[in-house]
């Protein structure tokens, strides 16, 4: 690409109107807006029980300007298969089928349906917006909650690590897997565009970090900063897995190549109250793991 894309260059049309029921400072709401700018109106979305159910509004008022099916918590990907099957048999072409599910609805209760849909090579874009806990029900632990994080069911901090869902999806042979971050909206936008245009007709999986002010314990004005920190310290690397091959996105590649300096993970952890019980020792351990991870990136 010759000219650098800026947020103001993106389509002006908003497919999510202001006044959603998400909290102030909610990052997945932002990611959703940018994603739909890339996907456009000819999209049918589907959402399971989660914060995004609430985000859509209360009957009969909705913020969404695209058709959306609310579905049961564990059933998003199966519903996408159903929508696609119906569109195919009815001869309706050029419609993107989009799943918009939380981490609980993806890595825990919905993993079976998602695995099945991926194996069936369902023509869909499945998004996991990952706020790293069950926020809708009051911040309980999920399989995506990171080590050390406080949730209402890990009151002294989670003792286990999170699942690596993008790797799980890549292991299914999903041809396009990517991570994204609403603090990097252009990168996010372009990934959705690529998913839609270059991998049309295939199974696509995008995993988006979704900083959550009430769930993570930071001020609602800090959402963008926290999201940036996550990537800048290496906790949330931005990459694509194209036919299983790892391609680092520019922000992360710059960190690997030393063009920008990677921030210490401590800065990220200490900016959120959910990690208040995480010891300095633990933080050091995690720092070492991230360092090692970045060493492997170097050898790419």
């Amino acid at each position: 690409m010759s000219k650098k894309l800026l947020p103001r260059d993106l389509p002006e049309e908003e497919l999510i109107y202001p006044g959603t029921r998400a909290c102030a400072g909610c990052s997945f709401a932002l990611a959703y807006r940018f994603a739909l700018k890339a996907l456009g109106r000819r999209t049918i979305a589907c959402t399971p029980a989660s914060c995004s159910t609430v985000h859509a509004g209360m009957y009969p008022v909705t913020s969404l300007q695209i058709p959306m099916l609310n579905t049961a918590f564990e059933s998003t990907a199966a519903a996408l298969s159903g929508i696609r099957a119906a569109l195919d048999i009815l001869g309706k072409k050029d419609i993107t089928v989009l799943g918009w599910a939380g981490d609980g609805g993806t890595v825990d209760i919905g993993i079976q349906a998602l695995s099945g849909a991926a194996e069936r090579e369902t023509d869909m874009i499945y998004v996991c917006y990952d706020n790293e806990a069950y926020m809708n029900t009051g911040v309980q632990r999920s399989g995506a909650t990171p080590y050390g994080a406080f949730t209402t069911t890990t009151p002294t901090g989670k003792r286990q690590k999170r699942k690596n869902m993008p790797a799980i999806m890549a292991a299914h042979g999903v041809p396009y897997v990517a991570t994204a971050n609403p603090s990097y909206p252009i990168d996010l936008y372009l990934k959705f565009k690529k998913a839609k245009e270059e991998f049309k007709g295939k199974t696509r999986y995008i995993h988006i970090i979704a900083p959550c002010p009430p769930g993570w314990g930071f001020d609602q004005s800090d959402t963008i900063r926290i999201g940036r920190l996550a990537t800048q310290c290496g906790i949330w690397p931005l990459y694509e897995l194209i036919e299983g091959k790892l391609v680092l996105s520019k922000v992360t590649r710059d960190l690997v190549e030393g063009k920008t300096k990677r921030k210490p993970v401590k800065e990220y952890f200490r900016a959120q109250t959910r990690f208040r019980t995480l010891s300095d020792e633990d933080i050091q351990k995690i720092q070492k793991e991230i360092d090692r991870q970045f060493e492997t990136y170097k050898s790419l």
Partner: protein, 403 residues
């Protein structure tokens, strides 16, 4: 041209779906349902049926695919049994609440634990409160005809329909079945007209969170109310669906010479005792009734086809007009801790409509234990003796069981 084929109940169901031009099928294997969906997948793969067959990874996903495809405007079908139906439970509520005219076959089988693949009605009866219409079949022709009728009923009132038939006894037994000419079916069953669909040209969000109260801050909702109003409409639709169900059956009868009614009477006119049962158990009872007649006892059989919505008034009216003193309800299911579901519902129907009869409940054939004519005759004699002895408070009895 219609043709006669010798088919199992499962294959009769698959042929009916083909005739109904089902568009999206999603199913997961379970005994004794599997041959129905296997044949459907063959119809699809060999181009005999223009449909999408989604090989899902669970029954929960099967019902989800039907829900999503129906919400997108396609005619859908699934089939399952026992634990598969139990796994669908959440989505059965969803399908009815979302008012989707999905048709499914429930090939009745006992529910684990312990494992058992043989027939009883515990699976479908356990789902009676989900808002689905439930129709029970007595033979393979009835399975075929009922599925065709089910689509017509479902799509007129936007309610899902479960067509139930006994595992093995019907699902795996061969009988001649008349396959109706495709043009005639098309005339009977027009293409599906969805009420709302997921459509980018007319975007709508379906199944939004809906408040318990009537919102007064929005002009639209005042007209439509909140969650209770949506649920009230489902109930109203079901309670007033008898007309539609009977009309569809009548039209089917006029066109194809077979009509079933919401219940079938057999030798009831002069009967002192009437057996009330569903499915193949009711057919078995007719044989018992004939033998008992030879022996000098007048016994009728009432075979209930429509279990939900429950035709309480129709049954009570029938009972009132009948000369029978005693109704013998034989259930192949049990609301554990009480009695068979049909027995409870029938008694409530009589009470509501001020009809006084003796009602004796029996449990028979649970978990596929063989049901035979002798047992049914034994049941009638038990009731007769109890009545003759003046015993008015006979409780439900489990027959042919090691106590």
């Amino acid at each position: 041209m219609s043709e006669k084929l010798v088919l199992s109940g499962n294959h009769a169901a698959a042929h009916a779906c083909k005739g109904a031009r089902v568009q999206v099928i999603a199913a997961y294997p379970i005994t004794p349902q599997s041959p129905a969906t296997e044949l459907l997948s063959r119809f699809v793969e060999t181009g005999q049926l223009n449909a999408k067959y989604v090989c899902v990874e669970s029954e929960h996903s099967a019902m989800t695919v039907c829900i999503a495809a129906s919400s997108t405007g396609a005619r859908t079908f699934t089939a399952t049994s026992a634990n598969g139906l139990a796994l669908m439970h959440e989505q059965l509520h969803w399908a009815a609440g979302a008012r989707l005219p999905i048709v499914m076959a429930c090939v009745n089988r006992a529910v684990a634990a312990p494992w058992n693949v043989w027939t009883d009605n515990q699976d479908s009866i356990s789902q009676r409160d989900t808002g689905w219409i439930q129709l029970y079949c007595e033979d393979n022709q009835e399975i075929y005809d009922t599925i065709l009728q089910a689509y017509k009923i479902a799509e007129q009132i936007y309610c899902p329909v479960m067509v139930c038939y006994d595992g093995y006894i019907l699902s795996h037994t061969l009988m001649p079945v008349e396959i109706i000419d495709q043009n005639a079916i098309d005339e009977f069953l027009p293409p599906f007209k969805p009420y709302v669909t997921l459509d980018p040209d007319d975007p709508k969000v379906l199944n939004l969170v809906t408040f318990p109260w009537i919102r007064h801050d929005h002009p639209h909702i005042e007209k439509f109310g909140g969650y209770p109003e949506i649920r009230y409409k489902l109930q109203q639709t079901l309670r007033s669906s008898f007309d539609v169900i009977e009309r569809v059956d009548k039209e089917f009868g006029e066109k194809f010479d077979r009509q079933y009614g919401i219940f079938k009477e057999y030798m009831c006119d002069e009967a002192d005792y009437i057996i009330l049962a569903m499915g193949s158990l009711a057919s078995e009872a007719t044989v018992a009734a004939e033998i008992l007649y030879e022996e000098g006892y007048t016994v009728g059989v009432l075979s209930l086809k429509l279990f939900r919505p429950f035709p309480a008034k129709q049954l009570a009216t029938f009972a009132k007009q009948s000369a029978a003193s005693t109704f013998i309800v034989i259930d192949r299911n049990l609301s554990y801790g009480y009695e068979g579901a049909l027995c409870t519902d029938f008694k409530a129907a009589l009470y509501t409509h001020h009809v006084q009869k003796n009602v004796h409940g029996y449990l028979l054939g649970i978990g596929g234990r063989d049901v035979n004519v002798d047992q049914i005759m034994e049941i009638v004699h038990k009731s007769r003796k109890a009545i003759e002895a003046g015993q008015l408070d006979k409780e439900t009895e489990w027959i042919n069981i090691m106590k």
